[in-house]
Every structure is written in structure tokens, then in C-alpha cells.
């Protein structure tokens, strides 16, 4: 059963009509082909219109859509021979953070990503994609390994943010994020980062301090959730919509602000309507970015990354 967002309501109605027609025609021998194709083209038109001018708050809903392609799905589609690697060798395995080795278009790479989970049970196991310190420490372990063996790292980010919990704080959530960013910066091989759905604050930048950063057309990337921002600055989470506009969190904004290097286009009606096309586009975009950094030495890659992040501020320090 497809889940519809508020602004997709007219589409839900049209799809309902098609369903009804199909049901009727199965009972009698009415010819519904014409009517169905008329409704289909209306759906296409509605989708095109709706998705061409999504407001930031609608983008937030799309980015969080439960059917948006998950990281495990993306890994299964884009990488072959994927070998998952578990644990931070210190405390425990964090199921919110996936890491492992695999081949991307035949070339060996290391992969890290945040997984929100597919079913209710899986979501609980994955902690809804909110990573704990041990997850970031696992990511760091993998980056160090990738650096030693010359493997590029692909990071795939879809997280509301790092997990705010008692144990997470006691085990140094802040330190774990800081060290993960440091590991990204010091990585000796290329790091290509992709924001898939939600790029939630420190929990996202911990994995996305890449040489090249790309982002899905309807993904969002922000220093704080619109709800969190609204409750602090507007004193009420009811202003999340206002905050989503003020924060400038869309892929277009990220491009204009120099935070990302490319936008990955999504199929009509966004990635959740056609995950295969979305994932294929993502694969092509990752290949493009890898080609951009291919052949660079470790020093060049590290220097590039430093220059990339130093530029967010005045340069004549």
C-alpha cells in the first residue's frame, strides 16, 4: 500500500479512480483503457507540477518518506561482492551504521552508510538510523582500513541525526563525531559522500566530510531539524515549516552555498515512486565524482578536503 504525503492527495484520488476502474472491468467487459490512460496522464501532470515546486517543508516530508530507498537497498543495487564489517572493537556493534567492502562498477571500495530500517522491527534494530558513538568509531575504523589499502570510500547518509541518549553521551558521542570528521579529513583515499534522504547535523557531517559531496534532488541537509530549530527560535515546534524555509536546507540551497558538488536527479514523483531509477542515477553520479578525483595523490586529496572546508568563512584570515 503506497503512502501519500499531504501534497500528494490529488494523486492519491486519481490512483484510487484507476483502481476502481480496474475493479469494475474485472467484473464486466467494459473497455477502460482510454479512461485509465487519461487518468495516468493526469497523474503525470499533477506529479510534475507538484514536484517541480516543492516547498522546503514538503521536501522534508519527501526526504523522510518511509518508502524512500534505504541504504541497504542502495548497497545491494550499486555494489557487488558486498562484505559487511561489524563492530568498533571496543564496545558493541551499531546496527544504525552499515560498513563494509564491496565493488563499485568492478573497482573495490569501502562503504559506510546510515540505515533507518525497512520494517518496524528493523527500524528498532537500526535505531531509526540514529548512530551511537560506536557506529562512528566503526566508520573511523573502516576509513583507516580503506586508507591503508588504497580503497576509495563511499559514504551514504540518511539520518535524522546522531542518537541523543544517556549511554551515547557517557561513551562520548561528541568525541566520536569529532574523530569521525577528523578521519574523513585525514583519509588517504578519495571520499565521495551522498546525502540520500535526511542529512541531520553533526550525525551527517561525521560521515560526509568528503572530497566530493552529492545530494539527491529532494533530500535535505541541515544543522538542526526544522522542529528543533522552531522550538528554540520560535519557542514552538509548530513553526517547523517556517524554520524549514529559514534554514535553507534543500539541494538547490546546498549547491548555491557551495556545500555540495552535484545534485542527483530523482524520477518523477521522487525516489519513493521509482527507487530503481533513483538508485541508477545515484550510481552514475558517484561514478562521475570518482572520476573527478581519480589519480590524485593522498596529499592532494587531503589538501583538497582541507581547502574545501576552510572556505566556509573568510579566506584572508
Amino acid at each position: 500500500m503506497r503512502q501519500f504525503l499531504d501534497f500528494e492527495k490529488p494523486i492519491a484520488v486519481l490512483e484510487g479512480k484507476i483502481e476502481e476502474l480496474r475493479h469494475l472491468s474485472s467484473e464486466g467487459d467494459i473497455n477502460i483503457a482510454d479512461e485509465v490512460s487519461r487518468l495516468q496522464s493526469k497523474i503525470t501532470k499533477e506529479l510534475t507540477q507538484a514536484y517541480a515546486q516543492l516547498k522546503p517543508w514538503e521536501k522534508v516530508q519527501v526526504a523522510r518518506h518511509p518508502d524512500r530507498p534505504k541504504i541497504t537497498t542502495i548497497i545491494a543495487d550499486l555494489f557487488t561482492d558486498f562484505i559487511p564489517m561489524a563492530g568498533d572493537r571496543n564496545y558493541r556493534e551499531d546496527h544504525a551504521l552499515i560498513s563494509g567492502l564491496g565493488r563499485f562498477r568492478d573497482k573495490p571500495v569501502a562503504i559506510i552508510g546510515t540505515e533507518k530500517g525497512h520494517t518496524t522491527e528493523d527500524r528498532i534494530k537500526r535505531n531509526f538510523g540514529m548512530v551511537r558513538p560506536e557506529g562512528y568509531r566503526k566508520a573511523r575504523r573502516l576509513m583507516e582500513l580503506a586508507g591503508r589499502f588504497g580503497l576509495p570510500v563511499i559514504s551514504l547518509v540518511d539520518t535524522a541525526g546522531a542518537y541523543p541518549g544517556r549511554g551515547a553521551e557517557e561513551r562520548g558521542q561528541a568525541e566520536a563525531i569529532a574523530r569521525s570528521i577528523q578521519a574523513c579529513l585525514n583519509l588517504k583515499t578519495p571520499l565521495i559522500s551522498a546525502i540520500i534522504g535526511e542529512g541531520g547535523s553533526g550525525g551527517a557531517i561525521a560521515l560526509a566530510t568528503g572530497n566530493r559531496v552529492i545530494m539527491f534532488e529532494h533530500a535535505v541537509y541541515s544543522v538542526i531539524s526544522p522542529e528543533g530549530c522552531a522550538s528554540i527560535l520560535w519557542r514552538s515546534a509548530d513553526h517547523a515549516k517556517d524554520a524549514s524555509e529559514a534554514l535553507k536546507l534543500t539541494a538547490k540551497d546546498m549547491m548555491a552555498l557551495g556545500v555540495i558538488d552535484a545534485i542527483v536527479s530523482e524520477p518523477l514523483g521522487a525516489a519513493h515512486r521509482d527507487p530503481d531509477t533513483a538508485i541508477k542515477n545515484l550510481g552514475d553520479a558517484i561514478a562521475n565524482e570518482l572520476a573527478e578525483v581519480e589519480g590524485k595523490s593522498s596529499q592532494e586529496l587531503i589538501a583538497d578536503r582541507r581547502a574545501k572546508y576552510l572556505k566556509f568563512g573568510s579566506d584572508d584570515i
Binding site: A162, Y163, P164, G165, R166, A168, E169, E170, R171, G172, Q173, A174, E175, I177, A178, R179, I181, Q182, C184, L185, N186, S201, G202, I205, A206, T209, Y221, S222, V223, I224, G228, C229, I232, L233, W234, H239, D242, A243, A246, L247, K248, L249, D253, M254, L257, V259, R306, Y309, L310, F312, G313, S314, D316, I317
Partner: protein, 289 residues
Amino acid sequence: MNWLSRTVLPKIKALVSPEPAKETLWIKCGSCSQMIFHRECEDNWNTCNACGYHMPLSPAARAQLLFDANSIESISVITAEKDPLGFRDRKKYSDRLKEARSKTGDDDAISVAAGEINGNPAVIATFNFSFMGGSMGQTVGNGIVKAARQAIQRQAALIIVPSSGGARMQEGILSLMQLPRSIVAVEELREAGLPYIVLLAHPTTGGVTASFAMLGDLQIAEPGAIIGFAGRRVIEETVREKLPEDFQSAEYLKEHGMVDMVLPRRDQKRVIGSILDMLMSSQPAKAAE
């Protein structure tokens, strides 16, 4: 909200209340309510002589506390683009900046100074929590990069004294980008073989803890300082569990292995001086690692 009214609100009030009319005023301790004569309070670096409670300390006083007498040189920080997003909540960001500037007399939430500690060259970057909660935007990032570069140029130690609610929301994603940017600054310093000490003042949370502030060669915290990534209220709402009274306090962090020591102000110069004496006694280590 028991903890909030008991520990945070008095501190915030102390930060926002106008400068007392000198000579006459007594200051009420935010923790034990003891009335302290303001001179006595200043002589004790804004700590309560009855209970040891650490009140906010201005960057200028912090420099006086840590540096050797007559060695302090102020270092200017370039102000970044005022309002890169044209941010507006109930107020315009540009107006909030103006207010904070007229209230504090500072350009932004960070001050940088150079000098000597026990004769060891040092650069200190200090956050001012009374400037928009010490939040980190592009100008604060400028201050950290500047402090690290000045330290390298002077072959000096770097000391950062954070006191911050985290990233500055009004600069959106550009404030998040200060996390990697500030870490690049720290990495440059490490490569120059110079010591980096973080002196955590109350409160240090969010994106500031998740970047340069947790990467010191030594992590020192002030007594009672609240230090953490997520706020107490957010955690309580998420886990629906009562947290210990002293959760995220400097002392709690020390017990959990997150800081090297909890150091009252009266000991800070002596201990940091000794640390620098030892770390800077030999030729600067060549690019570590």
C-alpha cells in the same frame, strides 16, 4: 524543570544582567545564594568563596587569569559576511547580531589573544557565552582558524576555551561546516608539533563539542561545567528516563573518561603552565604521526 531552574537559569541571568554599579554591589552566588562583595568575587576569578561555584568569566578576565602579567596581546578576528542566509525567525538575524554587539561590545562570540604562560608562548581563543549563546558561525570559525595559524606562526601552544550552545542556527548549514573547518585548523597545529589544550567552560554542547572542543591533547573542564552533545531535555524526551543529577557535568565526564581533569580557576594557570613547561621543553616535535 528542577535542574534547569537550579543550575542553568541563574547562570543565564548572571550573564544577561547588566553590569553592577561598581563599588556598591553585592553579587548573589547562583548556586548557594551567598552574597559576595563584587571585589572579592573578581579577586577570585568570579568564583564563589563559599561554595566554589564558577560563574561566567569574560574573555578579558580569562586572559588575565591565564597569561603572565604584561604579556597579553589582542589578536583581531575578521568578521565574516553578516547574514549569509538572510535568516529571520521572530527576529532578523542581523538585528540579533546588532543587539549582541551592543550588549557585549564584541564583534562576535570569540576573542583571540597571544601571550605567555609561565614564559611559554601561547595563543588563547575564548568563547563569550553572552554573545548569542557563544554559538559558532563563520566568524567564530574565523577566530579558531586565526588562533591556530597565529599559534603556528609564533610556535606557541593553542588553548581554546569554549562556552557555547553549539552551531549558530541562523547561519544554517554554513555553521555546520564550521565543524570540519575548525578541525582542519586543529590538524594544522598538530602537524606543526604544537600542544593543543581545551579548557571547557560552562556550557559546551552541540556542534562545538562534536568538533575542535573534543580533540585537545589535553581536555580540562571547569568545575560544574555542563558538557555534552545533546541537551539534557532532548535526551529525557527521547529515552523517557530520569537522568542522574550530575549528568553531563565536568565531574561526571571525568568519571566516564571524557576529560583529563576538572580544574578550578585558582589552579588553572599553575597546572596549564606546568603542562606547557613539560610539553614545550624539547624542540617542537616534528609533524606527529
